[in-house]
């Protein structure tokens, strides 16, 4: 009976259509685990590009990690970078074709561990690019190893007894770090697990691309997301765990807007 209520055939007709997939996502089925935030993040990036009408002027850079195949889902010209090097690629693309919109889409291992130097220096040079950073506190693709952003005490396959900060060091709040640099114009931290957060993230992404249009320097949009497979939880439990554990350590909200740090 429940199924009938959800799929009430009488109300399914074009007049009632209130939502459709953006034309800039390809027909390829996403390779992400059910419940993962990457799909929503992909959709929002593509919606912003579609709404700004800049498909033909945009070049994206995919990382190594879960989103290594981002180019399969995004209907724009894309390059796939070596692990951590996306900001170096983006630097060259933007400098050689300043009229194009250039963004990187990276995870925490890619951006904040192996690619820290490229991230920091692209930000410090104030490259006029958009960096989209999906932080789920774990290496998802390789099977749940400790990431630079893994929380203290949090378990991963390479810290099976929980992250011991005495031995493994503290998690890296790279957003707060790069926000200090003059080259960074906009730094924000958002989420995509609830409709209100989805709306705020989309607004942030739009602002990031608008900043690029105005030549303002780096816009850095972090999306704290879940990894229910890596965290070994159901998708709903992972979202609750994320709110209770990730958000206190990685608080949501703007860190730097229009080149000014937001006072807390």
């Amino acid at each position: 009976m429940a199924k009938q209520q959800i799929f009430n055939q009488e109300i399914i007709h074009p007049d009632n259509l209130v939502y459709k997939k953006t034309g800039l996502l390809t027909e390829k089925a996403l390779s992400y685990c059910p419940g993962c935030g990457h799909g929503t993040a992909h959709r929002l990036v593509m919606e912003v590009i579609e709404e700004m009408g800049i498909q033909s002027e945009t070049v994206g850079v995919a990382p190594v990690g879960c989103s290594v195949l981002a180019y399969e889902f995004m209907d724009i010209d894309m390059q796939q970078a070596a692990h951590g090097r996306a900001p170096a690629l983006a630097t060259a693309i933007k400098r050689l074709m300043p009229e194009k919109f250039v963004f990187t889409y990276q995870g925490d291992g890619d951006l904040a561990a192996i690619g820290t130097a490229e991230t920091l220096h692209a930000c410090n040079r104030g490259e006029n690019i958009t960096i989209i950073f999906v932080n789920n506190g774990i290496y998802g693709m390789t099977g749940g190893q400790m990431a630079p952003t893994t929380l203290p005490g949090m378990r991963a396959s390479t810290c099976p007894y929980g992250r011991d900060v005495e031995i493994m060091g503290n998690p890296l709040k790279i957003n707060e770090l790069i926000a200090q640099l003059p080259g960074v114009y906009f730094a924000t931290r958002q989420a995509v697990h609830k409709p209100a957060n989805v709306r705020r993230t989309k607004k942030a992404l739009r602002m990031a691309f608008e900043n690029q249009k105005l030549g303002k320097g780096v816009s850095f949009v972090e999306i704290v997301s879940n990894c229910n497979s890596g965290w070994k939880m159901t998708a709903t439990d992972a979202n609750v765990w994320m709110e209770e554990n990730m958000f206190p350590f990685y608080p949501l909200g703007d860190i730097k807007v229009d080149g000014e740090m937001i006072k807390k």
Partner: protein, 360 residues
């Protein structure tokens, strides 16, 4: 037309890059090649031809900036010296895997490790046998004069775009630092975006309505597809071997004994040939200009005529393995060379020929 100038080898590379219509240079300082970046920063081609010049935070970043630029079909290059090239090899493998045209310059210094800043030829294996991971090759050009430093920039770019593959100029601190006269070509205009798209329809220049999206990647998770891809790369390398072999024969026609040497060592051996001939020894020099593809056929041909080969390299003996492979067991093949930044003299080279080959 052109312009005659007295220049350092490193400066000649930089000036030739501007004149070849390069779109971008990305590099990191390291001795003995920092003059390339310094010269470009001094010349400010971004104000004249529009060529981008950027000092990166590392060689790792430099080569990945080259990857980003090459993926847009742009004519981009980087340069470094041995330890820096080691850092770039990951990027070289990706560039070859993704079939991207670009130019890399290695002004070799003595290794291993931090080694020395003096000239050496000990990166031959790294340059010609791959260096990075996976099955790949690059056209490797070995200039032996400042003139060739300049000329091989355009040649390197042409071959890179012909094969959609990185080209490497393998030189050393001696040729990088020494000054010679050089005839520079006239300024070539940089390609317009329309010309670029016509030449490189695969480039990520923004997906327009008239085509599918362009993707630059070296990833194929399906092994059957990756095997096809690697076999396609092999066909390119085979084509290089049949079409791009370049070498110079010096006094080889009547020679009984042959030096095989490239770059600086070829210059030194050329003098040794003269010294030997003055003593009545019939010496010759075969100078490989391309180290990959290697002039195997020419060596095989010469092996029917001569009595022995001495491979002279500033290394423990790397190219000598390719000479041995080409010549086979029919002739004597030996190696001689100073290492660690030391440079052999023409007398030492001649003596090595006399003791190891002629009297050996």
């Amino acid at each position: 037309m052109g312009e005659l100038r007295l220049m350092k080898g490193n400066e000649a590379i930089a000036e030739a890059a501007i004149r070849a219509g390069a779109d971008g240079y990305f590099g990191y300082p390291i001795t003995p090649q920092s003059e390339i970046l310094e010269y470009l920063m001094q010349e400010k081609p971004y104000e004249t031809t529009g060529m981008v010049v950027l000092q990166a935070e590392s060689e790792v970043a430099s080569i990945n900036m080259v990857y980003g630029g090459a993926s847009c079909g742009k004519k981009v290059l980087t340069s470094s010296s041995s330890p820096g090239l080691s850092l770039m090899t990951e990027g070289l493998s990706y560039l070859a895997g993704a079939e991207l045209p670009c130019l890399i310059v290695n002004v070799v210094r003595g290794g291993p490790g931090l080694g020395t800043i003096q000239p050496s030829q000990s990166d031959y294996f790294q340059a010609t046998k791959g260096g990075g991971h996976g099955d790949y090759r690059m056209v490797v050009l070995a200039p032996s004069s400042v003139q060739e430093m300049a000329d091989f920039v355009e040649l390197g770019f042409d071959l890179a775009f012909k094969y959609c593959n990185p080209s490497l100029i393998l030189t050393d601190g001696l040729i990088g630092q020494m000054m010679e006269k050089v005839m520079l070509k006239d300024q070539k205009p940089r390609r317009t975006m329309e010309e670029l798209i016509k030449e490189c329809p695969w480039a990520t220049t923004g997906k327009t309505a008239d085509r599918e999206r362009n993707i630059i990647t070296s990833l194929n998770l399906q092994s059957t597809i990756q095997e096809e891809h690697v076999m396609k790369l092999k066909a390119k390398y085979d084509k290089m071997e049949s079409e791009e072999v370049r070498f110079e024969r010096i006094s080889c026609d009547d020679a009984e004994y042959i030096f095989v040497a490239y770059g600086s060592s070829a210059r030194i051996c050329q003098k040794a040939v003269d010294l030997g001939r003055a003593k009545g020894l019939k010496l010759g020099l075969l100078r490989p200009i391309t180290l990959f593809p290697f002039p195997k056929g020419e060596l095989k041909k010469l092996s029917k005529q001569v009595k022995g080969f001495l491979s002279v390299e500033m290394s423990l003996g790397q190219m000598v393995e390719d000479v041995q492979l080409a010549v086979g067991c029919e002739q004597k093949v030996k190696h001689y060379g100073r290492v660690g930044g030391m440079i052999h003299s023409p007398d030492q080279v001649l003596e090595a020929m006399e003791t190891l080959i002629i009297g050996g």
